[in-house]
Symmetry: C2
Subunit: 190 residues, 2 copies
DNA sequence: TAGATTGTCTAGCAGTGCTAGAATTCAGGA
DNA sequence: TCCTGAATTCTAGCACTGCTAGACAATCTA
């Protein structure tokens, strides 16, 4: 049945088109302005088509978030494992995290800021979140000393998340971004 | 002119009623569900009345945010200055901040999370934000050692903000809230 | 080619923020 | 006490939102 598979292929392509377009739109005009009508217009179909692929608008943002967290995990892992020693590894991981958030603010928002119940309800995403968390923990474990590694991981992740979101909201001095990351790593490792 | 002042008094009272009701609604059903119709219904007036007091719905949330940051400043100052020494002061400030965020999540969201341009555009609020920032800086300055105090303040505030928001989004283990605050203060002061 | 299935669109619902203009209330003067 | 003008409040409506039912068109099967 080549027909059936051709159809399925076309359908899968459109699925990706929706996600790619939603992501581009969000990065350029913000999630608040990504409406079903605008998104449908951008992919050159009518709105109901979107609902043939996703349950609702939120599910589209959730799917973008899942793509994003997969990217983020790869970025963190590469940064950490490419470093010559644990201290550099933690440093590289922190910088990579903040850079990803800064370079893909809409995706970061979809993953960690936008209200969504998918992250904990679905079958795949909790595993992804755990994997991302494990990257943080692997990077910081060498510096845990007598402290609970998991708690220290939460402290590190929260601190980076805070820097990412406040910087994006223009509430931190933009030219001191690197200094903040450096200082955070310093106080944690010393 | 007792008539004029009576009118003005009634108007000021309704102004406060709007703010109080918006805050209560937001805390109980979330900002997303605080609509002009619902808010107008709650204060027993029609929607256009709201626009006689505030420019738009966002301005109402902004006004709640300003009330909130004034409260928060008082809370932080009390926590810091009531402590017997700087270390306890920093500890108390951190806990007070996280407690406020946890006890008034909608107000905290209005201040630090909701998209708003008021915080930096208006005449009053930047001063309030600076005052709040000064509280953090006063608490952490004794521990700055050779580091830039302002950068360290940003690191501290970001770390607490991250813990507050991720905890509210149920992304951190709720029973370890205190341990995270303790550990953060520990790594910063040691 | 006829019929069934699949895919897509048009048109519409209830909700949103916000506003113009009608209706009402009220204060002050004759 | 009644009238007039001003201040206040409401009704009704706009353009937008997410989402969907049902009509229509294209495609595959027999």
């Amino acid at each position: 049945m080549p027909t059936q598979s051709r159809r399925e292929r076309a359908r899968a392509e459109r699925h990706e088109l929706i996600l790619r377009t939603a992501r581009e739109l969000a990065e350029s005009i913000g999630w608040g302005a990504v409406t079903t009508r605008r998104l449908a217009e951008a992919i050159d179909y009518s709105q109901p088509v979107l609902y043939g692929h996703f349950e609702n608008m939120n599910a589209i943002a959730d799917a973008v978030a899942i793509q994003g967290i997969e990217e983020l995990i790869a970025v963190l892992r590469f940064a950490r494992t490419s470093a010559p020693d644990p201290a550099d590894g933690l440093h590289a991981l922190a910088k990579a995290y903040l850079e990803y958030a800064s370079n893909h603010p809409a995706v970061y928002e979809a993953i960690f800021v936008r209200p969504t119940d998918l992250e904990f309800a679905s079958a795949d995403s909790p595993l992804l979140l755990k994997t991302a968390f494990a990257e943080f923990q692997a990077a910081i474990e060498p510096f845990a000393a007598g402290d609970d590694p998991e708690t220290l991981t939460e402290v590190l992740w929260s601190a980076l998340h805070g820097q990412a979101t406040l910087a994006h909201a223009s509430r931190l001095r933009p030219e001191h971004s690197r200094a903040r990351a450096d200082l955070l790593v310093k106080v944690i490792t010393s």
